[in-house]
Every structure is written in structure tokens, then in C-alpha cells.
Symmetry: C2
Subunit: 200 residues, 2 copies
């Protein structure tokens, strides 16, 4: 890695640390330059604009999520084992392997809720990609005959997303000690139905 | 209503309009005073601090939610009809009868995620109360024998919250035209199981 590349990487990492605490809009070029011992213009040599930096930070977060949640799950056998791995790895991400301050992506969703532009577009794309990963894993589980042929993989993904989000609220905001057990039980119900039931 | 009371009410309403757009922390006493044609000190005569105003705004939001979502649902017969009404009224709230900018409470959850204090405490209490309303409605459905005796009302409430949250993301962030149909289908599955199935 060249010096330029490693400086760029250090900037993105530090900016991500800031963003996890205060949001992507809260990133301050001044604070960032000071904490990295760079001049503001030195920093702008790597990123032409604050928005370009914000996009790089979001990209880094998306990559970390892929490394911690998606890739290890794809290493599991296709079918139910992979679906289960996606569920558990994402739950662990929200609980402790993520950025340690709740779910960064959920915060961004609120932050960019009504703020159109390239950051919101990239965020939406990442959430669509993630739903697609879960949908594909469920479709493979149907193909492997682990799930009943009547299962709708998109619906399965929608409901799994719901369980994660209910967990996030119960665990993070409400401090409910039963949050994880409830999420796991909801997921078992979903899996159980996917295995056995036929519904229109 | 006295003049003081109606001024106080006007301040809270205008502050709520601001907060829906930019969050509770974003409320500006200066902007508020200007738009209501009051002096800052006149405004502070009604609220001793910004935090007192923020709490009043949150209280107003909680009351509106109760009026639009909870009260009409409690008017339905106890049991499954009431559970269904809670589900539908909350879905409608997120879709259009709420504050029109996604779910205000969800935004607050992110805003006060890591910001301890009376506002976060009140927010948490309101979310616990709301879960409790759904839990009680499900427990009554068990008592009325609309739901199977093996149904755990708290688990039912947890999973219902998940469906609302999945809907929120699909509808608001991803703009998924199938969001509502998916939420309704997930809820029918939950109801269907509550009526018929026994699970540990």
C-alpha cells in the first residue's frame, strides 16, 4: 500500500469512528484533520468534497458488514444452514460485532430519511442488496427442499428483517433481557413454517 | 382555554412541526419565537428550558398517537378484532395518519439512542406502554378464546412490532410498492398461527 493509500485509509477509518457516534452529516473535516494530524487541505487532497468522504465512509461500513455478516454466512452450505447463519450473524452484528453503537445502518436510515442525494441512494442500494442476499438464500433453501415449495423467498426476507428490527428496539432502546430469546423464537417459528406449511 | 394556555399550545404545536422535520434536538427557540411572533423571553415564560419544551412536544406526539391509533382500537370488541385494529391503525399511522415524515418515534429512537436523560426515559416509557397495549390486547384475545391458550402475548407483541418496522423500511426507505401487502401477509400468518397452533 502506498503512503497515499494508507493515509486515505486512515482518514476513512477515523471518519467512520466519528460517524458511528454522531452520524455521517456530523463528520467534521476540521476535527478529522486535527485528530489525524493533517492539514485540512491535506485531507481534501484525498477527498475532493465532504460528500466524497461520506460516501467512502459508507462504503467502508458496507464492506465491513459484508466481511462480518455476509461472507461467513455464504461459507455455510446452501439451504437452511446458510439462512440460519445469515440470521445469527446479523443478530451478532447488532449485538456486538458491529460498530458497537446500535446499528449504524439503522441510524443512517433515519439520518437520510428525507435527505435525497447520492448518500441516500447508496444506502438504499445497500439495503436492497442485503434483502436480496436473504431472499436468495431462502430461494436456495426452497430449491434444496429444506423449505416447502410454497415459500415466497421475498416474504421470508421481509419477515426476517422485521425480527432483526424488533430485536434492535428491544435490545438497544428498551434494554429487554429477553430480546435475543424472543428474536430467536420468532425466527424458529418462521423456519418451522417454511419447512412445513403451505399458505397462499 | 386561557390566553396563556392557548399560547402554550401554539408553541408546542409549532415546535412539533419543527421536530418532525429536524428532530427534537434541532428545535430552535429563536426560529420558534420568530414564527410565532413571540419574543424569546415570552417563549421562555411558558417553558423554563429547552428540555421542558422538548418534553412537552414529545408528550403531545404521544397523545396524538394515542388519539389516532390506540383509542379507536380500544373501541373495537376485545379479542382478535381489537388486535387487528391496533395493527391496521398503526400501519395507517406510519403510512399517512401520523406526522407525514415516516415514524417520528422511530426517528427519536435514533436521535436519543445514546443520549441519556429525561427525554430518552420518556421515549422508552412510551414505547414500553405501547408494547404493553399490544400485549394486553393479545392476552385478551387468548382469554376470549380467539387465540390458542399456548400463545405468549409478549412474543406476539414482539413479532407485531417487527412487522411494523419491516414495513417502515420497505415503505419509507426502499419505496417498495409491495410493502403494505407484505406487512398484511406477515400479520395474517401471525394471526393464523395464534388461532390454531401450539408451539413451545
Amino acid at each position: 500500500m502506498s503512503k497515499g493509500e494508507s493515509t486515505r485509509e486512515a482518514i476513512v477509518h477515523e471518519a467512520l469512528n466519528q460517524a458511528v457516534q454522531i452520524g455521517l452529516e456530523g463528520i467534521s473535516i476540521g476535527v478529522l484533520a486535527t485528530s489525524l494530524d493533517l492539514s485540512k487541505s491535506g485531507l481534501f487532497a484525498h477527498f475532493k468534497s465532504k460528500e466524497a468522504l461520506q460516501l467512502a465512509v459508507l462504503e467502508e461500513a458496507i464492506e465491513r458488514f459484508a466481511r462480518k455478516v455476509i461472507l461467513p454466512s455464504l461459507a455455510e452450505p446452501r439451504g437452511e444452514p446458510r439462512v440460519r447463519a445469515l440470521f445469527c450473524n446479523k443478530l451478532a452484528w447488532m449485538e456486538h460485532t458491529g460498530f458497537g453503537a446500535g446499528c449504524f445502518f439503522l441510524s443512517l436510515e433515519q439520518e437520510y430519511d428525507d435527505r435525497p442525494g447520492p448518500i441516500r441512494d447508496r444506502l438504499i442500494q445497500s439495503q436492497r442488496d442485503w434483502s436480496e442476499v436473504v431472499t436468495r438464500a431462502a430461494a436456495l433453501a426452497v430449491r434444496e427442499r429444506h423449505f416447502h415449495a410454497s415459500v415466497d423467498p421475498e416474504q421470508f426476507a421481509f419477515e426476517t428483517v422485521g425480527i432483526w428490527r424488533a430485536f434492535q428496539q428491544a435490545h438497544k432502546l428498551l434494554g429487554d433481557p429477553k430480546a435475543k430469546a424472543r428474536a430467536e423464537r420468532a425466527f424458529e417459528r418462521l423456519i418451522d413454517e417454511a419447512q412445513h406449511k403451505k399458505r397462499s
